[in-house]
Each structure stands twice: as C-alpha cells, then as structure tokens.
C-alpha cells in the first residue's frame, strides 16, 4: 500500500484559521461555517420568546407604557403568556395582529 505522507501534499479544501495571530492551514467543519454572526439585541425592540399565537393585544400605536405593563397575550406551550413592556416608553410600531402565529424571536413591538 501507498505510504501515508503528511496530508498537506494532497489537494484538500484547506482554509486558514487565525488563532493568536497565527494563520493555520486546516479544514473547517460545517458547524463552524454555518455559525451565525452575533447580533446585539436592540433594546427598543420586543420579540416573541416562544413560537405561538397572538390572542390579545392590549396597547395601540402611541400608547405610553411602563415597565411591566401587559402588552399582549401569546398562547404558546399550552399557556397564555403575558408579554410585558421591558422598558418605559411609547409604542412606535406593532408588527402583529390578533390571530397571528409568530415564530420564536419574531419582532412584536418597536418602542420610540
């Protein structure tokens, strides 16, 4: 059988990976290639924390709300979950309507 030589002589789909300023030639895994870039959470936005259905919205655009005020009810995981304001402010935009089915992390409200 062919003796095994160090693998960099073969044609493989090598990429470089920078660690502590040193560039290594290496293969990347699918998981690494598909990692998502970090996105900072926008404090002015409120997102769904579970996938579910909107069954009630208790505020309107331009409503003034305080931390803890109930904004809508999201039915998810067999529970009617209150979604409450996480900051004081004015509702700028409502992105959902009663009856809508939302995905996890879907945008619900924008604050001013």
């Amino acid at each position: 059988m062919e003796p095994v030589k160090n693998t960099n002589t073969k044609r493989m789909n090598y990429k470089s990976l920078l660690i502590e300023n040193i560039k290594y030639r290496t293969l990347l895994t699918e998981k690494y290639k598909q990692r998502k870039p970090f996105q900072k959470k926008n404090i002015k936005e409120l997102n769904a924390f579970l996938p579910g259905t909107i069954i009630k919205i208790s505020v309107k655009v331009n409503s003034k709300v305080k931390v803890g005020d109930k904004l809508l009810v999201l039915e998810a995981m067999k529970m009617k979950n209150d979604i409450v304001a996480h900051i004081d402010g004015t509702i700028n935009n409502i992105h959902v309507r009663v009856g809508d089915r939302v995905k996890n992390k879907q945008l619900l409200f924008e604050f001013e």
Binding site: M1, E2, T7, Y24, T26, K31, R35, K103
Partner: protein, 515 residues
C-alpha cells in the same frame, strides 16, 4: 399427555411466538430495508449462542379492547448470548408487533434483562425500534420508561451499555440511549427526536423531514448524540462486535489482551506524517495508526467535533483510549463540542480501566463570540475535570503545539498525567510566539522606527527561547524529550510499568462535574 405431546405443544407455542407480528408486518419491515428483531440479535451474537428469555410474556393492557389482542412476546425479544465468546445480555424491540410500542410487560422484560446484566456483570446491548409509548396503557407505559432510565443510570460505569437505534426512537424513549455509553445509528434507518416533524409543523409551522430533524447523520455530525455511524445494518453489526472486542465485561476487569502486533510502519511512518511547519495540517489518525498494534484504530464519534479524535486501539495487545487534537480540522482547537466529546470519553475509559493516551498538538481554544456565549468556559472545564478525576494510567505525548490553557487541559503533569513526553518539535508556552511577542514587547515595537521589523525580530527571539520543549523540561513538567520514532517504545514501557497503578481519591459520594 405424554412427554412427546407436551413437547410438541411447547414447539407449537414457540412457533407461534417467534412469528412476531406476522408475515404481513415482517414484509413491511423488510420493504424499508430493515431486518426483524430476531434477525438482528442473531446477526450480532455468535452462532447458536442466543438463549431467549420471556418468550411467553403477555401484555397487560386491559383498556380500549387491548385485552382481546395477542402481542407475541409483547414486542420485545430479550436474552443472553456471546460475541467472540464475550457474554452479553441483549434485547431488541420488535417493530412488527404493535409498532414495537412500549407497554408495561414490554418494559418489564427489558428491566429484567438489565437487572440480569447487572447481576452477572456483563455488557447489555439494547436494539431500539419502537413507535414509542403504548398509548392504551397510559401511565403504565411511562412507568416502564422510568424504570429503564433508572437502571441505565445505576448501571452506568458498572457494565458497558450499548444502544443500537434501528428504527424510530422518539419522545421519552430517546433518553435510554442517551444515558448509555455508546449509541449506534444507521443511515436512513435511525430516527431520534423528542418531538417529531408533525408536532413541529403544527406548533411552529416549520417543515422539516425526519431525516433532517433526527436522522443518523444529524446525530453523528451535528448533535453528537450518536457515537457510531454506519451506512447499513451489516456495517453497524461489525462496528458493535469490534467495540465489544476492545472493552472489558465490567468495571472490575480490564479489557481482554490480544496478541501483540507491530504497526504497519511501511504505510504509516511517523516521520513522514508530521510536517515540520507548525502551521501546516496533518491527519493525527495517521500518527495513532503509526504507533498502535496492526495500525488498527476504532474511532468513536468520527463525524462530530472532528477537531478532536477519540477512540480505541491496542498497544502491545492492551486496549488504550486515545484522545488526540486533530490539526486537520479547525487547526485542532478545543471548543465547546470537542471538550464535551473528549471529556465523556475520558470518563468512560476511567470507569472501565482503559489507560489513556493523549496526543497533543493544539493552538488553544477557538476564539469567537459564539463560543463564549455557548458556554466554552463550563464545557471546556469538563475536560479539566475528566482528566483530573481519571485514575487510570495517563500518558501524554506533546507532538507540536501546546499553548496556554490547551497545554494544561490536554492531560499535563499538573492534572496528574503519569508520563509526559515531548517530541523535539514541541512548543510548550503560555501562548503562541506572535501573540506573546506583541504583548511582552508592546512598547518596544510601538516606539521603534520600524515597528514591523522589530516585531518580526521579537517574535523570532521569543520563538528561539520558548518555542521548544526544553523550558518545560527544565522545570520537570515533561519527563523526557524523545524522537518521534521512539513513541511506541515509550508507550509500551509506560503501560507495562503502570499496570499496578492505584491512586487514593478523597472519599466522596460523587463529584459535581460542570455538566
């Protein structure tokens, strides 16, 4: 009735029972490329070694007209047998009988054979092919699962537990395999998930196929739930048998020794495998093959976190567990997945008296926000915990890079390795030369007339002074610097003289590893 008639009656009863779900259901099973439960058991065990238990057990469902149904063996076949002469307990769920669903009697057959395995101190192999809980039996089905999980946990680290997924294994049922030592899956056959595609579609409105959600490849490559991936049932059977040959019957014994065989050095020559430039990759499995008996290596979790390689081989006839950084993939870094993977394997080897051989060549931990936020601190800590806790002989070979936290984590003397040697190509330092020079000589570089030139010069200075094994050797942190081609000789010697190793550990109920 005379003896003859009674015997004839027994044979008739047995014929009825071994039919399983009947020809129609068996046809269906075969049509999708699956074997029957009985064929599976027979293909794994030595010829004529299978001894069946509880063939005549009947199910205990009384509601929803279940009392009028006859379910042969209640959908699971249990018994004992041998693999290459090693005794094992085995059970296989029979999908042709009520979809292999788990009722109370079905579960009792499984727990009985598990108890048997614990009493006899021999491995247990479970073949999973089941639609899940038998809904008609209600909470009794849940009780059955719970009894199995409890026994899995009690048996963990006492007898080897092997799970083979040869069909669906969904909902609560997945937790029995997850609690066992090794999970075998077969492409297109195995399906494992907590909630299936149907539920995901109704609840979340997201569509995904069973294969993409919880098929064999997903669990081998993405989730790390499976340890061995096979393309078909035949390959899976040979993997199981090979694994059994490497491991002991229980935690009081060592794996059976094999006749000593030299590696195939013509094919795997250690000096040809390693590039001198530390930035260039190579396949560390070739190093393992260059130093192991007959160049035979049974890799575990080949496709998951391929930046670390784990698996079994023999050195001078004795089973060892290898943990090796893989420069071929992600430069061999430690990250969340590779730490998890290696730590569990180390604990397996420690439980079952298998010496650990660690091959070190890593640039450090994978930098990244995703890693930090995925908890690389607590996952990385598992590796430190597992190595520190292990009391089996621990032998470490530092081949090239051993920087920073990675140096400590990869079974350094500080974590109580019994033998640490390094090759002359080793670079043992607090960090890579580039990074170190940038920090130590920051001001000199900044204030220089020609910063780039000074930087290069300082990097070289640092490299000359620290990028070698001799600083660590001077402090006694490594025991010896050896030529790469001496590695096998070193390992054989280390294993020989550590055969009687015993280590006293502080009395405790159990530790609290960073799970």
């Amino acid at each position: 009735m005379g003896l003859k008639r009674k015997t004839a009656d027994l044979k008739k009863r047995m014929r009825e029972a071994v039919k399983g779900g009947g020809s129609q259901a068996i046809k269906k099973q075969k049509a999708i490329g699956k074997r029957t439960a009985r064929e599976r058991i027979l293909s794994i065990l030595d010829n004529k070694s299978f001894h069946e238990y509880d063939l005549f057990v009947e199910h205990s469902g009384r509601d929803f007209d279940m009392d009028k149904k006859f379910l042969p063996g209640d959908g699971v076949i249990t018994g004992t047998g041998t693999i290459y002469g090693h005794p094992v307990c085995i059970y296989a769920q029979d999908f042709t009988v009520a979809g292999g669903s788990l009722g109370w009697a079905h579960a009792k057959k499984i727990t009985k054979i598990m108890d048997h395995a614990m009493k006899l101190k021999i491995p247990i192999i479970g073949i999973n092919d089941s639609g899940g809980a038998r809904i008609q039996e209600g909470v009794n089905a849940l009780a059955g699962y719970g009894e199995i999980f409890y026994r899995n946990t009690q048996a963990s680290g006492v007898i080897p537990q092997i799970s083979v997924i040869l069909g669906p294994c969904a909902g609560g049922a997945v937790y029995s395999p997850a609690l066992t030592d090794f999970v075998f899956v077969v492409d297109q056959v195995s399906k494992m998930f907590i909630t299936g595609p149907e539920v995901i579609k109704t609840v979340l409105g997201e569509e995904i196929s069973m294969e993409d959600l919880g098929g064999a490849w997903v669990h081998s490559e993405t989730t790390g739930n499976a340890h061995f991936f096979a393309n078909n049932e035949d390959e899976c059977v040979s993997q199981i048998k090979e694994l059994i040959s490497f491991i002991p019957w229980n935690n009081e014994h060592k794996a059976e020794p094999f006749p000593k065989k030299p590696p195939k050095t013509r094919q795997f020559n250690i000096e040809d495998v390693i590039p001198a430039d530390p930035k260039l990759p190579y396949d560390v499995r070739h190093v393992i093959k260059a130093i192991s008996d007959d160049s035979e290596f049974l890799e575990v979790m080949e496709h998951f976190a391929a930046n670390i390689v784990i698996g079994f081989a023999r050195i001078a006839g004795q089973t060892v567990g290898y943990v090796a950084n893989q420069p071929l993939v992600l430069a061999g870094v430690l990250d969340v997945d590779s730490s998890d993977k290696a730590a569990r394997f180390i604990r397996y080897c420690d439980s079952f008296n298998i010496p650990l051989v660690t091959l070190v060549d890593l640039p450090g931990y994978l930098p990244g926000i995703d890693q930090e936020h995925a908890g690389v601190i607590r996952h990385g800590a598992k590796l430190l915990y597992a190595y520190s806790e292990a009391t089996v002989p621990k032998i470490t070979v530092i081949m090239r890079k051993a920087y920073g936290g990675g140096y400590i984590a990869m079974c350094s003397h500080h974590l109580r390795a019994d033998f640490v040697c390094a090759w002359p190509t080793a670079e043992i330092a607090v960090m890579g030369p580039e990074g170190a020079a940038n920090i130590i000589f920051r001001n000199e570089i900044k204030n220089a007339e020609n910063p780039e030139e000074v930087r290069k010069q300082k990097i070289k200075e640092y490299k000359d002074k620290f990028s070698n094994p001799y600083v660590a050797a001077a402090y006694g942190y490594i025991d010896a610097v050896i030529e790469p081609k001496e590695t096998r000789k070193f390992l054989i010697h280390a294993l020989e003289i550590s055969g009687q190793k015993s280590q006293i550990v502080p009395v405790k109920k159990h530790g609290i590893p960073p799970f």
